[in-house]
Amino acid sequence: MIDKRVASLAQALEGIADGSTVMIGGFGAVGQPDALVDALAELGIKGLTIVANNAGWSAETGIPRLMDLGLVRKIICSFPKGSTVFRELYLAGKIELELVPQGTLAERIRCGGAGVPAFYTPTSVGTPLADGKEHRDFDGRTYVMERALRADVALIEAWKADRWGNLSYRGSGRNFNPIMAMAATLTIAQANEVSTDPIDPEAVVTPGIFINRVVQVESRVEALLAAQRQA
């Protein structure tokens, strides 16, 4: 029987190696796999490259916690503002930043999961973020070539999961989660509800083929509300 459920966060994170590239879903606090990230921080796995939209906001949890513990070598993201921890490490030259426009980040990840090694986009042409990139004209417009992004591990958050690893989301909680789920060798999902009953096939947003492990985690509503108040 296929059963992707695991009983604990420790089991969910088993086998992640030093130096891994880790995608972390979420847009700000919503859709962020907070429990998985915090558990990863406890494991002390070093030299991580993080792919995420943001660099987090609170030193106590999430990506800043990983950084504060010295576990992160580099972050690939679109909007690293709002995290004091990252700011200090970055200004001290202790962490590398690859700044990517949000849509380019999303498409690079989607291509990573879809077997497309590179694509062209008009985004960033004529800006410093296109420096050193290959430019090419199609039908009279200029584009830059961007490479696909893949990861060793993707940590994502869903609202519901079933034993096959099928996922559905809540509200704006999809954001980067469905595309990151496709782009990693090992994809681990935390979900508020995990069931042996299947999700309605028409309502599945992320098919289980993209998911390796699912762990049930009570969602931290208070943390989400706190993040909104801070926005």
Partner: protein, 226 residues
């Protein structure tokens, strides 16, 4: 949504006294029914509240929402539903939810009718600078600004006419790093509405009580009649 007053643009040109609501309201008047509209963080978000109640407009949020409504009452917040500024929002009838890949396919693919953005500078050829004020800024962040600027069918900038110290923000050539070249179609400020036509700023209208000379003096590029 139902703003009873329908004033025209505010008339106070001095920095610090700008009636931001009035500028947002003036822009909102030009938004057409049925448009799909993305509002940048900051001053542009005000536009949502200024749309006439009987004009149905669909607001897009790049984190995966079409049909976004106003902020909820404090006791009706859905913690999983935020806009691009990470603030709580609601869903209107006819809304839909999707992931970032699809959201930026909408943006990049030219499906958004209008994007309203703030700016540090707009050049007369439409160049937009709104993401960083220096090429070696200590901590740069870009978000979705570049994608929106190149992808939306129309890019309208909503901003104060001048910067804090009075420096012009409508310029011949941007001095800050670009967000996108030739992207801006129109600029709405407290002094008027300016369209970019053939590489120059054309005045669509001036705010009440504002003269051409006054605006020209506060603008870093030649203004032209329409």
């Amino acid at each position: 949504m139902n703003q009873s007053v329908n004033k025209t643009t505010a008339s106070q040109p001095e920095a610090g006294k700008v009636d931001r609501d009035a500028v947002a309201r003036r822009l909102a008047r030009d938004v057409e029914e049925g448009w799909y509209v993305n509002l940048g963080v900051g001053m542009p978000t005000k536009v949502a509240d200024m749309i006439d109640g009987d004009k149905e407009v669909v607001f897009h949020s790049e984190n995966g929402i079409l049909g976004m409504g106003p902020g909820p009452a404090p006791d009706a917040i859905d913690p999983w539903l935020v806009n691009a500024g990470k603030k709580a929002v609601t869903l209107l009838p006819g809304s839909s939810l999707f992931h970032h890949g699809d959201s930026f396919a909408m943006i990049r693919g030219g499906h958004i009718d209008l994007c309203v953005l703030g700016a540090f500078e707009v050049a007369q050829n439409g160049d937009l600078a709104n993401w960083t004020t220096s090429s070696d800024e200590l901590l740069p962040a870009v978000g979705g600004a570049m994608d929106l600027a190149v992808g939306a069918k129309r890019v309208w900038v909503l901003m104060q006419h001048t910067a804090r110290e009075g420096e012009p923000k409508l310029v011949e050539k941007c001095k800050y790093p670009l967000t996108a070249p030739g992207a801006v179609d129109r600029v709405y400020t407290e002094l008027g509405v300016f369209e970019i036509i053939d590489g120059r700023f054309s005045i669509i209208e001036l705010a009440n009580g504002v003269s051409f000379e006054q605006v020209q003096a506060l603008t870093g590029a030649p203004l032209h009649g329409n």
